[in-house]
């Protein structure tokens, strides 16, 4: 019922506005076109100035209201660089923003049409045009240089001491795989994927490198140690979004991608810094992947090397789980008959 009243009220409001608009049109005709235009010039030129001032105050209020809702300090070495670059870009674009917007609205006010005034027939000035082409060109060159410096350093090869974690996206969750003690991820074949047989990633069980690989739904990282994510997808394109680390990379079926970075703070340190005892790093999907896209979130734990080693040691390898579940016959001699290539498909950076 209240919905009905709202609709009636809106219709009434609409009719009133239209009637006023119609009446003011008649008034304008009575007053004469020139006088009406003169009045409109005054009114809207003033409104332009009011908009500028109110807008600038609005920007300040908006910033005051929202600045505390931004992300905490960047949690990766690369993220710190990106944040720094963002500040530089903010300053440069901010200066341009304020200069051009203020000029626009001040001109809009100052040069409003006035009776007896005429515009200046001024339409060329090659010197000033040269300057306002050259200055943006120069500024852009600086921004490109800064940007590419960071871009190449972030996308360079991962350092040799990086640990490797495989990230696989699927509708609608993430699967992480750790290479285990041998430091090598075993071979996979997507045709062997079988959730019912404890093989969500299609690991080739006859490949011995697979035997100690640990599969988890949580991403564990070591603070201060570079990590190289080897990213893939089982079905459609997903994206490994890491807002706290200021990074992301698509997960594309059939096209492996990588991303490496160095976490700076453990989860516990971050909890202390943000004052939120329940703080958890998140990995969010940033590429539309279907109806469950919005629910494709995983937890990330950043811990010390010791904690990580303890955690990894406490995990059963997927091979063991599959074996316990009866998905793999315990007689390994049978497996030797399966066609296996000697080398693992993915070699760790070690």
């Amino acid at each position: 019922m209240s919905g009905f009243f709202v609709v009636v009220l809106l219709l009434l409001l609409f009719i009133i506005v239209v009637q006023i608009a119609k009446a003011s049109e008649y008034v304008a005709i009575l007053k004469g076109e020139k006088k009406t235009q003169e009045q409109n010039n005054r009114l809207h030129a003033t409104l332009m100035l009011v908009f500028l001032i109110a807008g600038l105050i609005g920007l300040y209020i908006c910033h005051e209201l929202l600045k505390d809702k931004l992300l905490p300090v960047a949690a990766s070495v690369q993220g710190v660089a990106i944040d720094h670059m963002m500040t530089v870009t903010l300053v440069i674009t901010g200066i341009v923003f304020f200069i051009t917007q203020i000029l626009l609205f001040v001109f809009a006010y100052k040069y409003r049409g006035r009776e007896g005034h005429q515009a200046s027939y001024y339409h060329e000035n090659s010197r000033i045009e040269f300057f306002w082409t050259a200055i943006p060109a120069l500024t852009m060159t600086i921004l490109v240089a800064i940007g590419l410096k960071h871009w190449f350093s972030i996308t360079s090869a991962a350092p040799p001491n990086a640990m490797v974690v495989e990230v696989t996206g699927k509708q609608f969750n993430w699967i992480f795989r750790y290479p285990g003690k041998d430091g090598v991820l075993g071979k996979r074949d997507y045709r062997l994927i079988d959730e019912g047989k404890f093989n969500p990633l299609g690991q080739v069980w006859s490949d011995p490198y697979n035997h100690d690989d640990v599969v988890s739904s949580e991403l564990h990282l070591v603070v201060g140690r570079p990590v190289k994510l080897e990213i893939g997808s089982r079905d459609v394109i997903h994206d490994v979004g890491l807002p706290y680390f200021r990074l992301k990379m698509d997960a594309v079926p059939g096209v492996p991608t990588t991303l490496w970075f160095t976490p700076k703070y453990t989860t516990a340190e971050m909890a202390k810094m943000t004052g939120d005892p329940n703080f958890v790093y998140k990995l969010v999907c940033d590429q539309l992947c279907g109806a469950g896209h919005y629910s494709m979130v995983a937890n990330i734990v950043v811990e010390t090397q010791q904690e990580f080693d303890q955690w990894l040691a406490s995990q059963k390898s997927q091979y063991e789980l599959a074996k316990e579940g009866g998905a793999i016959p315990s007689d390994t001699t049978k497996m030797a008959m399966l066609p296996v290539k000697a080398q693992p498909s993915v070699v760790s950076a070690k």
């Binding site: 003011s24 005429q118 339409h123 871009w151 394109i237 940033d286 109806a291 919005y294 629910s295």
Partner: protein
């Protein structure tokens, strides 16, 4: 100049053709049936109105969809029973389902970008202005022109049908990335809805190509005597580059879509490899979804400028006319349009920095993307310099043109953030992107369109739109645009992902803090949408009841369209086509308020802004 001679010849040929067509005079021309006059019309002015009104209907649908999904984002816990009335089981209990949410998002993007801001914007103004401002009786091929509208109409019908499918329309986003768009199992919308989406878009591309080729040939060949390229109004230059962009890039999109149709229905593997979905492994091997991304964005980025350039042209024209001052830096304006159009072909992969594309390749796209800021800032400075020392007449079109500049600055500057690949690593696919492109190519392009509609409405229908409603329309939309999209930058900086059905899950606790803001944005969106409905009312009401135009040149403009009678017939000029003697921007020259292009240059007068002299 040889081009001058050629233009003259072409024009005489056109005049002769019309003379033959007209029989013994113009008066007999209107013996047409209702169908040939208003439906299968070959008159560019009628076709332009057809594009405009079809575009407006789509804009209402597209805008309404955004209101529905904003209700979900702003009020995820509230139930709206009317949604169940409209959408049935897709909105059981008054909550839209995730599928419906993604379908609405997808259709909002597709409709707004292609059907409204491409067909509705450049379709309307290219058709209306090219012959009228160049001094031609019609397009080079009126028949192809008619076909281009009817292909668009067919595309519209196919897209409309897809809204009523049992499995719903496409939900793969307006970019329709495979494998999500390629596999029936990937989502409800990837079933029949996706096929119809692709077919509709393919038909749409045909429409755009027919239209674009026609615009280009008309501009190159059908200019009246004296209308050298460097005397063309900037609207025509902008529409010219728009057409060139469309002709060069839409075919690539078409190829991408056809390969996708093959992957969907014929078992090919252009985009598919190593996929396990819905409990089974697919046989497809060796394809790459990144190939699709390249094909898509090769159009997708020029498309942004297809949407933007007409607005830039209209703004340039209207700022000059309504501030009674010549446009500043005419040649720089043409040059910057050319630079933007050329560079737009070299930046497509800035949408793909995080796609897994080779990072070395990405470096070139950073460079070219940031280079676009140079011609863009030249345009902004020239617009500012046009206002400087002007005598601005605050009509409704003038307001929208000034609003365009403000929005273009605000949205354009964040392009410098997103185009720098290292920053894109953080900002890609967050609300920052939404804020950026809605300001710069969504609302700004709409402002160009509104400015054009208010300005040329008297020429289209012989009546004015209601001014007071126009002023309300401007101020509410302008303020609303900033209220909606400015705070979204903060959400984006906080890494809030776009295209999320809801943020209320515990796992997304960090985004709960934006719930109040989301609610605020939704409320503003509803108000702004309501005001657009008021504009639509004003438009249709004024066609029949608006204040009649008495002066054939109500804005005191210099361009040729205002030399036609108030009610323009087929063929545009009752007598001979006027000859052009000067550029379009002689405002306030030597103390004269305006000097139309048809006025000869007096011997004492110095002709400026003109390199090619016409023999007198």
């Amino acid at each position: 100049m040889s081009s001058e001679v050629y233009t003259g010849q072409a024009q005489r040929a056109a005049v002769a053709a019309v003379a033959v067509h007209d029989g013994d005079g113009h008066a007999h021309h209107h013996h047409q049936s209702f169908i040939t006059k208003y439906i299968f019309s070959q008159d560019h002015k009628v076709i332009s109105k057809q594009f405009l009104i079809t575009g407006m209907i789509w804009a209402i649908i597209g805008g309404f969809f955004s209101v529905i999904f904003r209700l979900q984002l702003g009020f995820p816990d509230k139930s709206f029973p009317f949604l169940e009335t409209i959408f049935g089981h897709w909105a059981a209990g008054g909550h839209i389902s995730p599928e419906l949410y993604y379908q609405l998002v997808t259709m909002h993007g597709t409709i707004m970008i292609f059907f409204v801001l491409t067909a509705g914007l450049s379709g309307t103004f290219s058709n209306f202005l090219i012959p009228l401002q160049l001094g031609a009786r019609d397009m080079a091929s009126p028949f192809l022109n008619m076909l281009s509208y009817w292909f668009f109409f067919a595309a519209s019908i196919i897209m409309l049908i897809s809204l009523f499918l049992k499995t719903g329309p496409s939900e793969a986003g307006w970019t329709a990335y495979p494998p999500l768009s390629a596999l029936h199992e990937a989502s409800e919308g990837s079933k029949t809805g996706m096929d119809l989406w692709l077919i509709s878009m393919a038909v749409f591309v045909v429409s755009q190509l027919l239209a674009g080729l026609n615009y280009i040939s008309t501009i190159l060949n059908m200019r009246t005597k004296g209308m050298s390229m460097t005397r063309m109004p900037l609207t025509i230059w902008a529409l010219f580059f728009t057409a060139v962009l469309g002709v060069l890039s839409f075919p690539v999109l078409l190829s991408g879509f056809i390969l996708l149709l093959f992957d969907r229905n014929l078992g090919t593997s252009f985009y598919l490899s190593d996929i396990y979905i819905a409990g089974h492994a697919l046989p497809n091997q060796g394809g790459s979804p990144i190939l699709y991304e390249h094909l898509f964005w090769f159009l997708g980025h020029p498309e942004v400028y297809i949407v933007m350039l007409p607005g830039m042209g209209i703004t340039s024209e209207l700022l000059a006319t309504h501030s009674r001052k010549p446009i500043f830096g005419y040649l720089a304006m043409v040059g910057s349009l050319f630079a933007i159009a050329s560079l737009s072909f070299l930046v497509w992969a800035h949408h793909m920095f995080v796609s897994g594309m080779n990072p070395f390749l990405g470096a070139f796209f950073v460079l070219f993307t940031l280079l676009i800021a140079v011609p863009s800032s030249v345009k902004v400075f020239n617009w500012l310099a046009t206002l400087w020392k002007g005598n601005i007449q605050y009509t409704v079109p003038a307001l929208f043109a000034i609003g365009f500049v403000s929005l273009f600055i605000s949205g354009g500057l964040t392009g410098i953030w997103l185009g720098n690949s290292a920053l894109d690593l953080h900002l890609h696919d967050t609300y920052f992107v939404i804020a950026h492109f809605h300001l710069v190519m969504g609302i700004a392009a709409f402002f160009g369109m509104f400015a054009g509609v208010y300005h040329w409405f008297p020429k289209m229908f012989g009546r004015f739109m209601n001014n007071t409603l126009g002023y309300i329309h401007f101020w509410v939309t302008f303020i609303g645009a900033y209220l909606m999209f400015w705070p979204m930058h903060y959400e984006g900086l906080a890494g809030m992902p776009r295209r999320y059905y809801e943020y209320s899950a515990d796992a997304l606790a960090i985004y709960h803090r934006f719930q109040g803001l989301n609610e605020f944005i939704s409320v503003v969106a509803i108000i702004v949408f309501a005001v657009q409905l008021m504009f639509v009312f004003n438009f249709f009401y004024s066609i029949f009841k608006g204040r009649p135009v008495k002066d054939p040149n109500p804005w005191k403009a210099n361009t040729l369209e205002w030399t036609t009678p108030i009610h323009v017939g087929h063929g545009n000029w009752p007598g001979e086509i006027p000859e052009v003697h000067r550029w379009a921007y002689d405002y306030s020259k030597n103390g004269i308020d305006f000097i139309p292009q048809t006025v000869p240059v007096s011997p004492a007068e110095e002709e400026v802004g003109e390199t090619v002299k016409t023999p007198q």
